[in-house]
């Protein structure tokens, strides 16, 4: 690109080695600082969303590994969250799909399992703020629409990923 509108560097120190091998977290922060000083008019941003979630550990994947244990969370693009499972399988979820798949009592009627959440009411720019791990069986998203009561068990996420195989993907 001939021009630069924003200066970006992402992720947290713990994930740095996996996300940007060969680089140094402190150096990146210094770069942002220096860039900011040189060009105060160009916005510098640093965005990340993984908090307390397991690191992306490609090396820990093994075929005999558990299908229900995530060994990595990664924001692949602004709208896609990838989960790497211990058996080496990777699921790419649309972040709004994850919001729509919430199984809390406000979104799914507890007794009947009837859906209470109308997809039309969730804007397409909904996104997770921090992701927090719950014990060793689930994660919780703090959604930008204010909803945060959903507990996403690893079992349910893996099943959602399996159903994703049936969705239509095509090149246009």
């Amino acid at each position: 690109m001939a021009t630069q509108d924003t200066m970006t560097t992402e992720t947290v120190p713990r994930l740095y080695k996996e996300a940007r091998p060969g680089t140094d977290f402190q150096n990146s922060l210094k770069l942002l600082q220096r860039f900011r000083a040189l060009h105060p008019n160009i916005p510098t941003k640093s965005g990340l969303m993984v908090e307390g979630a397991p690191a992306w550990m490609e090396g820990a994947a093994r075929p005999a590994g558990s299908q229900k244990t995530p060994i990595g969370f990664l924001q692949r693009d602004p709208r896609t969250l990838s989960i790497l499972w211990e058996d080496g399988h990777r699921d790419d979820f649309d972040v709004r799909d994850l919001r729509l798949a919430c199984r809390c009592a406000l979104c799914i009627e507890e007794m009947s399992g009837r859906k209470l959440l109308d997809p039309k009411t969730i804007r397409s720019d909904v996104s997770p703020r921090p992701i927090v791990s719950i014990g060793n069986y689930a994660i919780n998203f703090d959604w930008s629409d204010g909803h945060n009561s959903g507990i996403y068990s690893f079992d349910a996420l893996r099943a959602l990923g399996a159903s994703a195989a049936a969705r239509s993907i095509e090149n246009v």
């Binding site: 602004p78 896609t80 720019d125 994703a164 239509s168 993907i169 246009v172």
Partner: protein, 213 residues
Amino acid sequence: MSDFQLADLPVSIRAETSLVDPDTCKFIVSRTLHPGGPFFFGNKERADGSPLVERLFALPGVANVLIAESVVTICKEPTASWSGLKAAIGTAIRTQLMTGVPAILEMHAHTGTQGRSDAELHTTIQELLDKQVNKSIASHGGKISVVEIRQQKLYIAMSGGCQGCASSQVTLRQGFEVMLKRVAPEIEEIVDTTNHAAGKQPFYPRHESGVKQ
């Protein structure tokens, strides 16, 4: 010609229908469409002046549009069908990338009704060119400059990679004109004064006996 690599690379677009909401489809593009964001357009009116979004809302059945860097999420009307629509959306995205102008107009639209002088119009249009258009088409090696404004007509010249480029008219009519209408609705016509055949090396040199397209 290494300066023009970006414009020449093939664009791949992957359409993924939502797992949960059959009316939503996400289009993942191999190129950034607009930096920053996400930008959400809940209706047609909000799209005014943003070339890509106007083009998407022109397709029948598009209900709302989200653009986040290289990802476009489209929600369609429940009554519309995806068949044919996905391909049309892909074409709209490719056309946008071909124009080289920004997909989204971030400058404020002009809503005043009183007439502005040619000098005031010139300032506004120069601002649009400097702040948004030229920054973006510079990545294709091109540039648009104002020659003059006379009787509601804007005379412009296209230089650098634009001169002689087969896509320059797409840039002008599908991109720049859409944005211009929004910030300077007084302009009735854009006249391209560029001699696209002149110069030592226009983007596509003319061959007298060349193959006609």
